[in-house]
């Protein structure tokens, strides 16, 4: 089995973010449609559509998740966050109809992560969003697990291309379990192998050498 000594920090679970996780940092960079509820003086240059000096109240714009989370307050209304398209009623119906046909990589790729983060903002639709996320995951999990446990020695790119980041991580760990088991069955588990990191470095070095 492939033993790796570099283990990146795992992303947080549910509504929590892991402060130093690269995945969570990229997730919180996803943009959300928002509406400002007060004016932001001297920041007009952030909003490309006008030349005004300030961002006036009631402007619709897109802000990254981390900024919306930082500015959002329940008591004082600084901004209101609108739901991204994929979490709205229309798309929820699609997900509920058959979660297997949707391309979550295109929708997300942090569909579950961003959806859980949306629960930070008080929206009347929160219970339905949570329910849809859960049902989507359940509906897709069976096929995902099946393919990760049975695709041995074949090209998996077609299987993973429509998966969300979370699902992709599950798929990879399923694959590494499968490969480990297969190599044990063949009596290869005790064979010493070169570190995959070293091998990858060598590949790159070859490519870097000019012809």
């Amino acid at each position: 089995m492939d033993t790796q000594s570099y283990l990146p920090l795992q992303p947080g679970v549910g509504m929590e973010e892991n402060f130093l996780s690269l995945d969570d940092i990229l997730l919180s960079h996803e943009r959300l449609p928002i509406r400002t509820e007060c004016s932001f003086p001297r920041l007009g240059y952030l909003e490309k559509s006008t030349d005004a000096q300030d961002i006036p109240e009631g402007t619709k714009m897109e802000l990254p998740l981390w900024l919306s989370k930082g500015l959002y307050e329940k008591k004082r209304r600084v901004l209101s966050v609108e739901l991204p398209k994929v979490y709205r009623e229309g798309w929820r119906t699609v997900f509920n109809a058959d979660p297997n046909v949707v391309d979550l990589h295109k929708m997300g790729p942090y569909y579950y992560g961003l959806g859980s983060q949306m629960l930070h903002f008080d929206s009347p639709e929160n219970p339905e969003i949570a329910q849809t996320l859960l049902q989507t995951f359940i509906g897709r999990f069976r096929r995902n697990m099946d393919s990760s446990q049975n695709a041995y020695n074949e090209d998996t790119s077609a299987l993973v291309e429509r998966l969300d980041c979370l699902e992709k991580a599950l798929f990879t760990s399923g694959q590494s379990g499968l490969n480990g088991f297969q190599s044990w069955e063949k009596g290869r588990a005790s064979q010493l192998t070169a570190s995959s990191l070293v091998l990858n470095y060598r590949k790159r070095k070859m490519a870097d050498v000019p012809p």
Partner: protein, 196 residues
């Protein structure tokens, strides 16, 4: 928008998810620090104005910039921390001496950190096993025999084993060697473990 520069740094690391160490992006980091400085100064002037002239309407903008500062701080910390994780794993994969092309990608502070880590690890391993020391990087997989059959994948030159015999590791030659002697060479891809 603010904090776009720092995301580039994070993406750079994220792209190499197998643990390779990309070159230390000093230039990118400097640009981020400059952005933070500018944000801080703008905030300072706005805070002073809000205090002296009682302009409470500036507060949302101050808060926004403050969020950006915190965000930049988070990302830069994550960047450095993830690199340290990678550098730490290099010690286990390559052994205590790194090849030049890897070392080339580290900044001065990281080189220093690596040598400190090496020292702590070595003194820890010396303290184990009742004062005799124990090499923890050995036998990552449980050994089945003391000697193993290995094949050379490239010319490595002369190699001395415990009893003083010197053997020549020539490409495609096959040897029967003590396992603990060649484990690291196998990990570095010089030798290949032959299982019959």
């Amino acid at each position: 928008m603010f904090c776009e520069k720092v995301i580039e740094l994070i993406r750079e690391l994220h792209r190499m998810s197998d643990g390779q160490l990309p070159a230390f992006n000093e230039d990118g980091l400097r640009q981020v620090l400059q952005e933070m400085e500018a944000l801080y100064e703008q905030n300072q002037t706005d805070v002073n104005e809000a205090k002296s002239e009682g302009r409470a309407d500036l507060i949302p903008s101050i808060k926004l910039r403050h969020c950006c500062l915190l965000r930049n701080q988070r990302c830069v910390t994550a960047y450095c921390y993830d690199r340290l994780l990678r550098i730490r794993s290099l010690r286990w994969e390559y052994g205590s001496v790194l090849p030049a092309n890897v070392r080339f990608h580290m900044c001065a502070e990281e080189v220093q950190w690596f040598s400190q880590y090496k020292k702590s690890l070595a003194s820890f391993m010396r303290s184990l096993g009742g004062g005799e020391g124990l090499d923890l990087t050995q036998d990552m997989k449980p050994p089945k025999s003391l000697y193993i059959e290995v094949r050379c994948l490239k010319d490595h030159g002369e190699f001395e084993i415990d009893d003083g015999t010197v053997i020549l590791l020539k490409k495609n030659s096959q040897h029967f060697l003590p396992r603990w002697k060649c484990e690291q060479l196998i990990r570095q891809g010089v030798l290949e473990h032959v299982v019959s």
